[in-house]
Amino acid sequence: MNKTSNPAELAEISKRVRRHILEMITAAKSGHPGGSLSATEVVVTLFFDIMKHDPANPKWKDRDRFILGKGHACPVLYSTMAEAGYTPVDQLTTFRRLGSIYQGHPDVRFIPALEASTGSLGEGLSVGLGMALAAKLDGSPSRTFVVLGDGEIQEGQVWEAAMFGAFHKIDNIVCIVDYNKIQLDGFVKDIMPLDPLVDKWTSFGWHVIDIDGHDINAVQKAFHDAEAVKGKPVVILANTVKGKGVSFMENNPKWHGSAPSREECELALKELA
């Protein structure tokens, strides 16, 4: 795979990934566009710039690991992994169909290169902490990256994990909260507000980096800064826009879990040309 640190190239890849996301959800007639589009720069920057991994050797022992806690956003993960060479790009549109490797939520039975099967929100950070802890025990340089949804962190388990990570000084993990301010039933502020979120994570013993999650320079810098933090885990609050890149999907809870029609998809693709 062609890794790159060039923000312009990462932006190009992000655009391709967004197009895949729309194509696959449209073809499947179901899926979750909003939270896939909001996490695109973060996931692409991880796979194409930050993480040490090898699509030709996915089980390489010292690889960096990635877990998508908010498994419903798997179109962004599948598209990015396909672009990186893990899985076939031309099968992306089989998403959610019987027999497809691109299951409705990430499923290690179908794509062994995935680190975890997710879809039940709130579990990814704990699993990631276990993996990061194992790397420490093994003296491995491996880092673990876990992307959570903002709604997802309403799960109590996330905060149990947060305490564990800080107490055990697990500094080879980076948790990214895709802070797009929207969940399923509506806006986070109306469902179960999280603010002050920086203070919450700080008080749980985490080093907090607060950024614009669509600014690739900022995303790159955040991951580099995270690596320099020793003795405590790092959380990046990636402030994002749900549905980013498609004007009629942006900031609209309707696009959490509904598929665009073919016509809507064409409109969206024009905006991402």
């Binding site: 179901s30 169909r97 019987l98 499923d107 709604g151 039933d185």
Partner: protein, 321 residues
């Protein structure tokens, strides 16, 4: 009771929709009814209640275990609290809370799990509940019900609301065929014989009742008389109907959208073993997790169609000889 009639099985609303509507009826009837949901109200259809009675609806966010215990607290303090989410989340994530805050102190909590079974299709195994009935039956004192259509769901929701004690009701995502006409009778611990028959008795619940009825029609054409029983009440279970079926038909097939190893089949077998044993076959999810696909494709691949019921009946009848 035994009504032999032809079932048209016209497609009706999903049982989750019937649940949502029944909650509104309850809300109108009883100001003591309150509802909690965990960021899925648009899917569980508790949103109908939320719109009608915003002051009695409590959004818990994505935190099912907490929601169960909050509901238990509301109930313990005298409310009739309904808590709802996908079955896979409210039962699995909330199991410990169901056990210690609701079942053990015998609190008047009502739990409704929607999107049950594997017929949710595209979302895949993380959202599919194939163990909820068995887990719910592992909660001493809980009433456990799995109605099959709009009429029976509404009836069951009213039944569990009137019942004093904890209850779990299982609802589905996809549209459900009409099995019952308005006014049909249901009771906690009851069952309904939908077709009379003497060669084999088929017990089913939820969406698979319709498949059992289709199977019976096919069997009828082959000269096999199949009794079909809707086992909508799983706990307590209708022991008399089971014993009668076992005695009169001498062969039973149990059909369920649930893990075969621990589902209603095991309860049916236990009751028959305690009363009148007979040979049995089981149709269900066989020691596996399913996968994504259209509901139809998933149900077919995992063997939960009328043709699978027919096959099981032939198997059980071959053993009967």
């Amino acid at each position: 009771m035994a009504v032999s009639r032809k079932y048209e099985l016209k497609i009706g609303p999903a049982t989750r929709e019937a649940f949502g509507k029944a909650l509104v009826e309850l809300g109108q009837k009883n100001p003591n009814v309150v509802v909690c949901d965990a960021d899925l109200s648009k899917s569980t259809m508790t949103t109908f209640f939320a719109k009608e009675f915003p002051e009695r609806f409590f959004q818990c966010g994505i935190a099912e275990a907490n929601m169960v215990a909050i509901g238990a607290g509301l109930s313990a303090a005298g409310k009739i609290a309904f808590v709802s989410s996908f079955s896979a989340f409210v039962v699995n994530k909330g199991f410990e809370q169901l056990r210690v805050t609701a079942a053990y102190p015998n609190v008047n909590l009502k739990v409704v799990g929607t999107h049950s079974g594997i017929s949710i299709g595209e979302d895949g195994p993380s959202q599919m509940s194939i163990e909820d009935l068995s887990l719910a039956c592992n909660l001493p004192g809980f009433v456990v019900m799995a109605p099959c259509d709009e009429v029976s769901m509404k009836a069951c929701i009213h039944l569990v609301a009137d019942h004093v004690g904890p209850a779990f009701v299982r609802a589905g995502r996809s549209k459900a065929a009409h099995v019952y006409e308005a006014g049909a009778k249901f009771e906690i611990g009851g069952s309904n014989e939908l077709l009379s028959g003497k060669d084999v008795a088929i017990f089913a619940n939820g969406l698979l009742v319709a498949e059992a009825l289709k199977a019976a029609e096919q069997l009828d054409a082959a000269g096999i008389s199949a009794r079909v029983i809707d086992l909508y009440s799983i706990k307590p279970i209708d022991r008399a109907a089971l014993e009668r079926a076992s005695k009169e038909c001498g062969a039973i097939v149990v059909v369920e959208e649930h893990l075969k190893d621990t589902g209603i089949g095991t309860r049916v077998a236990q009751v028959c073993a305690e009363t009148t044993p007979c040979i049995m076959e089981f149709v269900g999810v066989d020691n596996t997790y399913a996968e994504s696909g259209t509901p139809e494709a998933v149900i077919e691949k995992y063997g939960l169609l009328a043709k699978n019921v027919v096959e099981a009946v032939h198997k059980v009848l071959a053993r009967k000889k």
